[in-house]
């Protein structure tokens, strides 16, 4: 088990005053709150800060933590010395939030008190609905077009029969309906935590995210595709094959098409209700002048077309 340096996590000195610790916590909690900060490690940082604050804000826990000594380094292998907490009295155990998410390090120091705290709360006749769980699921764009079944492995902390916190993994097979969009959620009733007493189970919310696709980009229910075209297709117009997540379609390129604009294939986006559109963004590409024939063709254009793309720049 790794030693955790709660002072470093909070960015305060070991002799910081309580109000200084509170200020540091408020600032870090706002910074790393997973609803505010979308970085991948934000949630872990937020929990770490919450755990550190839980110890440092409580004078009893802080004193007990302090007497482990200042010579420990974060990440160093740690086992609590025998009877390390002798002489300290704990009133609360876990106070705020979901204490079940705290680290093994915290557990080894304050776990016993937590058990007592929980026992007190589970009185006969006490009913509460179980907690809702939230998780993200990353799907392929194709799954939104066709629907799919996804296996999702979730780990959640639970209390076992002895009141110990254990991490349990479970795998669920979930149907991803056709037409889902990024950020939408699927609610699985009764797949959250168990309730207490007569309280029902909580729900599981799965938030949809798309894996990056090599050539499609997704914006809401619309899909964008950069489509390379030749100069003659752009200049003369053409009917060309365009890939879509539903399979290739034929599309007319009008004569005089410029690169960078967008052409809409109505209803070929994500099949939500109403369906999104597919936008094709033409990118004009030039064939290489790597043979005598190709060079001759470019030279002929130069002579025949007298084209100056920089005329509006005054040169």
């Amino acid at each position: 088990m790794d030693y955790k340096d709660y002072y470093t996590i909070m960015g305060v000195a070991r002799d910081a005053k309580q109000d200084e610790i509170k200020r540091a916590y408020k600032k870090l909690a706002r910074k790393y709150h997973p609803d505010v900060n979308k970085a991948d490690d934000a949630e872990a940082r937020f929990k770490e800060v919450g755990e550190a604050y839980d110890v440092l804000k409580d004078p009893e826990k802080r004193a007990a933590y302090d007497q482990l000594g200042a010579n420990w380094k974060a990440g160093q292998d740690f086992n609590p010395p025998p009877n390390w907490d002798e002489g300290y009295e704990f009133s609360g155990g876990y106070s705020d939030g979901d204490g079940a998410d705290y680290s093994d390090f915290f557990e080894s120091l304050f776990g016993q008190q937590f058990k007592q705290g929980q026992g007190g709360r589970q009185q006969a006749g006490f009913n509460a609905r179980g907690q809702d769980h939230h998780a993200k699921v990353s799907i392929e764009l194709m799954d939104a077009y066709q629907g799919a079944t996804h296996s999702i492995t979730l780990s959640a902390a639970e209390l076992d029969a002895n009141g110990q916190v254990v991490t349990k993994q479970r795998t669920l097979k979930v149907k991803i309906p056709k037409g889902v969009k990024k950020g939408q959620r699927i609610r699985l009733a009764g797949q959250g935590s168990a309730g207490m007493g007569q309280g029902g189970k909580g729900d599981l919310y799965l938030e949809i995210d798309f894996k990056a696709h090599p050539f499609y980009r997704v914006d809401g229910h619309d899909v964008y595709l950069d489509l390379p075209i030749t100069p003659w297709e752009a200049a003369l117009g053409a009917s060309i094959k365009v890939p879509t997540p539903d399979g290739p379609v034929d599309m007319k390129i009008p004569a005089g098409t410029k690169g960078g604009g967008k052409m809409r294939l109505k209803g070929r986006g994500i099949p939500s209700a109403p369906p999104g559109d597919l936008y094709v963004v033409p990118q004009i590409t030039l064939p290489a002048a790597d043979t005598e024939e190709a060079k001759a063709l470019y030279q002929q254009m130069e002579k025949t077309l007298a084209y100056n793309p920089r005329s509006n720049l005054g040169v």
Partner: protein, 104 residues
């Protein structure tokens, strides 16, 4: 592993939730959700409270509001402001992403 395939409820544009359903999904009191409506955080359809219809987006906002209040101790006007700003950041980020990809 359980082989049963779970069919969840997709919370999309067609989802309609009543006041009671939103309260239940947030494990909150009616009063708290009504306050969110008065603050302009949630905008249900329907004039009378008994006929309010909440969208999936409303439920998502209510969940975020609940977490912000619990974790950061923010009052309702602060939550309303934070949610508006988070929405704006989201739309700016997705526009930026599209522009960056197009510029490549």
């Amino acid at each position: 592993m359980n082989d049963k395939i779970l069919n969840g409820l997709l919370l999309d544009e067609t989802t309609v939730l009543s006041l009671d359903e939103v309260c239940q999904a947030c494990s909150s009191s009616n009063e708290w959700v009504i306050e969110l409506v008065q603050e302009g955080v949630l905008e249900p359809r329907g004039q009378q409270q008994t006929h309010w219809q909440f969208s999936a987006r409303c439920l998502q906002k209510a969940h975020t509001a609940m977490r912000l209040q619990r974790d950061l101790d923010i009052n309702l006007s602060g939550i309303a402001l934070a949610l508006d700003l988070l929405d704006e950041i989201d739309s700016l980020k997705s526009r930026l992403l599209l522009l960056e990809q197009t510029a490549k």
